[in-house]
Amino acid sequence: MTDDRPTLHDRKPGDRRVRVERPHSPYFRYTGPGMLTAKAAASLAPAASRGPLERFRRSLFGRRLSNEEEAFERLPKKLALPIFSSDAISSSAYATEEIFRVLVVAGAGALLISVQMALAITVLLAVVSLSYRQVCRAYPSGGGAYIVARENLSPLMGLVAAAALLIDYVMTVAVSTASAVSQAYSVIPALYDIRIEIALAAIALVTIANLRGLREAGLFFASPTYLFIGLAFLVIALGLAKLALGQGPAYVAPEAQLVPLGTEPLGIILILRAFAAGSVALTGVEAIANGVPAFRPPEAKNAGNTMLTMAILLGVLFIGITLVADGFGIRPTEDGGRTVIAMVAASVFGDGSALFYAFQAATALILFLAVNTSFNAFPRLAAILAKDEYMPRQFAFRGDRLAFSWGIVALATVSGLILLAFGGDTHALIPLYSVGVFVCFTLSQVGMVKHWFTVRESGWRWRAVINGLGALLTFVVLCVVASMKFTSGAWLVLLLIPLLIAGFLTINRQYAATHDQIAMRPDQVAPAPHREERVVIPVSGINRAVVQAVNVGRVISKDVRAVLVSDDHAHAEETRAAWERQIPHVPLVVVESPYRALTGPLLAYLEVLDRSWPADREPPITFVVVPEYVPSHWWERLLYNQSTAELRRALLGRPDTIVTNVPYRREQPESFRRLQEHEIARDDPATGGAPGPKDRRGPQPPAAV
């Protein structure tokens, strides 16, 4: 391609005649000696860009982004707060209810200690948040518990944390979605019957939003989070005001819908169970520490401040909602009934009021969007694990929109399956939830203590004390949660963690073994090719694609043979006769097979070819050159090359064998007509093989044919 810059008039006469040829300019930019940087057009095949699938993909996920655009994808604090904190903040919508559900078995009096329980959990939240704030500063590259445990404790401890985190993220998506749907059917009871469908649709929506990229996802998620926070503060303020003025609730649920009050004694076990249930409020706190690199610079400082803001908001909301619910004497309902937070809102705003509906909508939305925390954190953690070769490498690849597409899709799939398996029931899912969270809390805090003792920088002693306190408290809570929830589902998580670790280690061993086999020693010089080559071309007859493959085969080696596998004697004879006439210099092996398969006899032929090779010589490299017809349209692909694909699969991994595809593209009808005229003129003795005038105008025939 010629550069279209105007001709420059310089001092030398020849300067006017210089043409700057830049054939690469539409696709690449010259960035230095021997260096080209791909432009957007290079990643988009010209044919693919026109296809209906590509158009659909573009409309769904947006245009492709270049790596340079990543800098603009960093999040300001006001967007990072809803993205990374919606999970933690939204847990205030169901944490109170989980405490109530445990305490209700001990009667109405027991519900009174729910406030103290919320206070104790908030103290724990404060310690954990302060500890994680230090993680943000110490590890600005992100990774959270996995990186901290891996670097300070051991790689195995890192994997324990990673497994626990991955489970936690999956459960966050499942629990938050199920809880969001429960808010929706608190207002419209008819939705209870289609709760799973709604939940799956919501997950699909969030998946698409995340595949579009981080920044747009942030804008999508910011407003509902802030709306929920604003309305929740209004509920708490008005509720507390009503209680202070001695006013009763504006709504009381029918007694038939409520969980009956129990008569169990309020013992230490019940209190610990209620504490364990309420500790779900802490889930999602670690997400900010995992996503520090997504913040705008200074990343660590911004992440630390966002963490503090999130902890304050969550603490105030959790205590406030519990206070109001306790003050109005609210009790949880049976399955399919209203949630506690819905009853709190109805008690304050009045059932059926516009503010009640607005609050319910905001609660449902933030819970739907809380899953986005996991959609940001899970793919990042999976990418880090993939880079460390504990997960398949695809998880580290970024998609067209700079999102870790594999992680996003994997998270959506697994959480969707869990929702289906548990029938979209929040209370059935919750026992699986917080165990993993506290495993990684504990590991990361212990790791941080070790970190401070290692680096011994300014103020390391008090930092180590904060993290040590965090480690102690979270370990105690882990023991409580694991023991109290063990029979109701925590056992499954405790079983899954070692299974996941076994999976990580297997993948790691596999990558290491492959690396050992394919790596070259640094002092090793690549030897010159020394093995003989032979070519086998599977054919089905004589056509232009076969001729092109034969020509390619003859370029590779002198030792070429075509192989026709046939169960039709007449067809085989016909092809052989034509072959001897039209391609006389290349041997044709006609294998008359008693069976109607292509792959089996061809593999058998390759086997006997290998076996007949002299034992005293190094085995040759066998090139299987496969002629392949390239259809013009996507739907034509169904009609062609099915046996070729099967053959390629069968030959994959065969020793000393290289499969080479030789695609033959169909010409446009007009071009093909000109090509035929050219060939007839060339072969016609009357014209002396000289090309006619039409040939000079038309395209040159493919060189290989």
Binding site: W579, E580, P584, H585, V590, E592, P601, V608, S612
Partner: protein, 94 residues
């Protein structure tokens, strides 16, 4: 001149060796039961290896035929089907 003769001889040896390898592979294919018959067309210099190939075919118990057709300069080699009595069957070379 001497050099040219040596090169031609070497090329011929290489070609006939390759032809023989192809025929042996075809014999094994038929003897193993993977193919009923194998026809080798456009094979270079099959006559030069016919005797040796016939010996291999007889040992494997498969039919061996060198078929020449009008208008086609090189004969084609037809291997198979399997003969009823291995090692003792008479195979016609035409």
């Amino acid at each position: 001149m001497e050099h040219d003769r040596l090169r031609d001889a070497w090329l011929l040896a290489e070609t006939t060796e390759r032809t023989l390898l192809d025929i042996v592979a075809a014999i094994q294919l038929v003897a193993g039961g993977a193919a009923r018959r194998v026809v080798l067309a456009s094979l270079p210099e099959p006559e030069l290896v016919a005797a040796e190939a016939l010996a291999y075919a007889q040992a494997a118990g498969v039919e061996f035929q060198l078929a020449r057709r009008p208008g086609v300069p090189t004969p084609c080699v037809i291997i198979g089907p399997r003969s009823r009595r291995a090692d003792t069957g008479y195979n016609e070379v035409s």
